[in-house]
């Protein structure tokens, strides 16, 4: 109590900050701590053992983490490769009056319910869907498009593309177009201008967008469970299976911790890799 009194006398602003910080601690840091606790202890913060981790490693579920890392990496790289030219065009090439309209069309899917977007793909990919009808018309029979890895990657790419275009656009838009013009005037080729002027200036946007996609697609639950079918597990689907169907929360929590740890390491690796890549291109 004395502690509180001391704070309130010296500093009223503490009370302004208290609700948000308390909320953040109660519903963000405490749950995370709880998961860690659950994975190590059989009772609340007691009986520490590595038994649950051993159980996770024993099962082949360990490979699920790598599958999810692959999924996140491929999705984020594809989105970057396709999203960059789009952001570049909208930010630097499109006529000024078109810019806000084009960006409107990019942000709209981002703000649309994910389920609606996934649902929309059913009409394209179903057995009687638009794509199959078209392919049959042309004379190609591909059978079931839904419930395949290809379909899942396609939908992932579709859903996460706007995520990467938005931050890329906001950094590319700030680049002074004179810099590009003067680089070209001074005799650099397009490729050189891109590598040495545009790319380094947009590195911040690349990183923000890439990791935005990477983080959200790693734990993705909806798309794998609805599009990829029940055959293959991903981190998101497996965790929810542990918690809803298996009811083995300790092992589930251990798996969650293990995948999060691997995930954080992979983020660091990607960070270094992206820097290296941009560096190398800059010297090219």
């Amino acid at each position: 109590m004395r502690f509180l009194k001391k704070i309130s006398k010296s500093d009223k602003s503490f009370f302004f900050m208290a609700p948000a910080i308390a909320w953040q601690i109660c519903f963000f840091f405490l749950p995370l701590l709880f998961v860690v606790q659950l994975s190590f202890c059989s009772d609340l913060f007691q009986n520490v053992s590595l038994e649950y981790f051993a159980q996770v490693i024993k099962t082949s579920h360990f490979f699920v983490i790598f599958r999810s890392l692959l999924l996140a990496s491929i999705t984020a790289s594809c989105c970057l490769l396709i999203g960059y030219p789009v952001a570049y065009y909208v930010a630097l090439c499109a006529p000024a009056r078109m810019k806000s309209k084009l960006m409107f069309l990019i942000v709209l899917p981002f703000l649309t319910n994910l389920l609606v977007q996934v649902y929309a793909w059913f009409f394209i990919l179903e057995k009687h869907g638009v794509l199959n009808k078209f392919l049959n018309f042309v004379g190609i029979d591909v059978g079931h498009l839904l419930n395949s890895q290809f379909a899942m990657y396609l939908v992932m790419f579709h859903v996460y593309l706007p995520f990467i275009i938005m931050p890329l656009y906001s950094t590319l838009e700030k680049i002074n177009i004179r810099l590009i013009e003067s680089s070209l005037d001074l005799g650099a080729s397009y490729f050189q201008t891109f590598c040495r002027v545009v790319l380094p200036l947009s590195l911040h946007g690349i990183k923000t967008g890439f990791f935005l996609v990477y983080v959200t697609s790693f734990g993705e639950y909806v798309i794998p469970s609805l599009i990829a079918g029940q055959k293959k597990y991903f981190v998101g689907t497996l965790i929810s299976e542990y918690f809803f169907i298996g009811k083995d929360w300790h092992v589930g929590a251990a798996f969650t911790c293990l995948s999060s740890a691997t995930f954080i390491v992979s983020i660091l690796i990607w960070q270094v890799a992206l820097h290296r890549l941009v560096d190398r291109l800059q010297r090219a």
């Binding site: 302004f16 909320w23 519903f27 090439c93 319910n113 994910l114 579709h158 734990g219 998101g236």
Partner: protein, 259 residues
């Protein structure tokens, strides 16, 4: 040389156009089927609004919609007002605590959802609207905090000093100087939090329990059980809703940058 500039620019434009077509084809097909007379696998059978009629008569959807609205409004209100208070309180602080809230974007939602579920069930909090609101408020904090902080940093601090010098109390200054200045950012953050809460699936999936259903959960269960054009009608209305919200947000943002 000039020929090649034009050529590459045209190629880029064609590429961008095809990406836009890719982005919008599924959504267009979805909207089209909501106006179709027949069910899904059938071809086009003529224009009709009867799926919308079914939608408005479905009690289950309305209940889910009402739940989503309640959760979205309450959690957005909470997260935005807490962000304003924090941003205002942090101004005299030596240590900046705002980055504390940026961590939220680094943790996959599923980990957070699992954590909340296990914490709630350990404390035997009954899952329902309250737990949903708690989770969505946290999501909203992560989005509204940077927006409001960004606007607050643009505020000329001498305005506050002037107001205090002229005899206004801190509370009066807060209500009549700071909040009006933050107003466009507050509105943007509020709308964004509402949309985020409406669109959220994972937190709702884990924290809602079996009794409460939100719109996202309803659509999820509908997709699992097969395609129904009623969901198309619902999706079309949701799309129009996000269009409208985004339009307002962009207008506000434009005003933000003007002054």
């Amino acid at each position: 040389m000039f020929h090649s500039i034009n050529f590459s620019k045209t190629m880029l434009a064609v590429f961008v156009a095809s990406v836009y077509i890719f982005l919008y084809t599924p959504i267009m097909v979805l909207v089209l089927y909501s106006f179709n007379q027949g069910g899904f696998p059938d071809a086009w059978q003529g224009f009709s609004l009867h799926w919308y009629q079914d939608l408005f008569q479905s009690e289950e959807i309305w209940r889910a919609f009402l739940n989503s609205v309640i959760v979205a409004c309450v959690s957005s209100f909470l997260s935005v007002s807490m962000s304003i208070l924090l941003v205002h309180g942090v101004r005299h602080y030596k240590r900046n605590v705002v980055p504390l809230f940026y961590v939220n974007a680094l943790i996959p939602d599923i980990v957070l959802a699992v954590g909340m579920l296990s914490l709630f069930s350990y404390l035997t909090v009954p899952l329902g609207l309250t737990t949903l609101i708690a989770g969505h408020t946290l999501l909203g904090l992560g989005f509204s905090m940077p927006i409001i902080k960004g606007r607050y940093d643009e505020l000329d601090k001498s305005l506050i000093e002037a107001s205090l010098d002229l005899g206004a109390s801190m509370r009066y200054t807060f209500i009549h100087v700071i909040v009006p200045f933050l107003y466009p950012a507050i509105l943007v953050a509020f709308l964004l939090s509402i949309i985020i809460s409406f669109d959220d699936f994972l937190i709702s999936f884990f924290c809602s329990g079996s009794s409460v259903q939100t719109l996202s959960l309803y659509i999820f269960s509908m997709i699992r059980s097969g395609i129904s054009p009623v969901v198309n009608a619902l999706s079309t209305l949701l799309l129009i809703g996000s269009c409208f919200m985004l339009f307002i947000m962009m207008m506000l943002q434009r005003n933000l940058f003007r002054d």
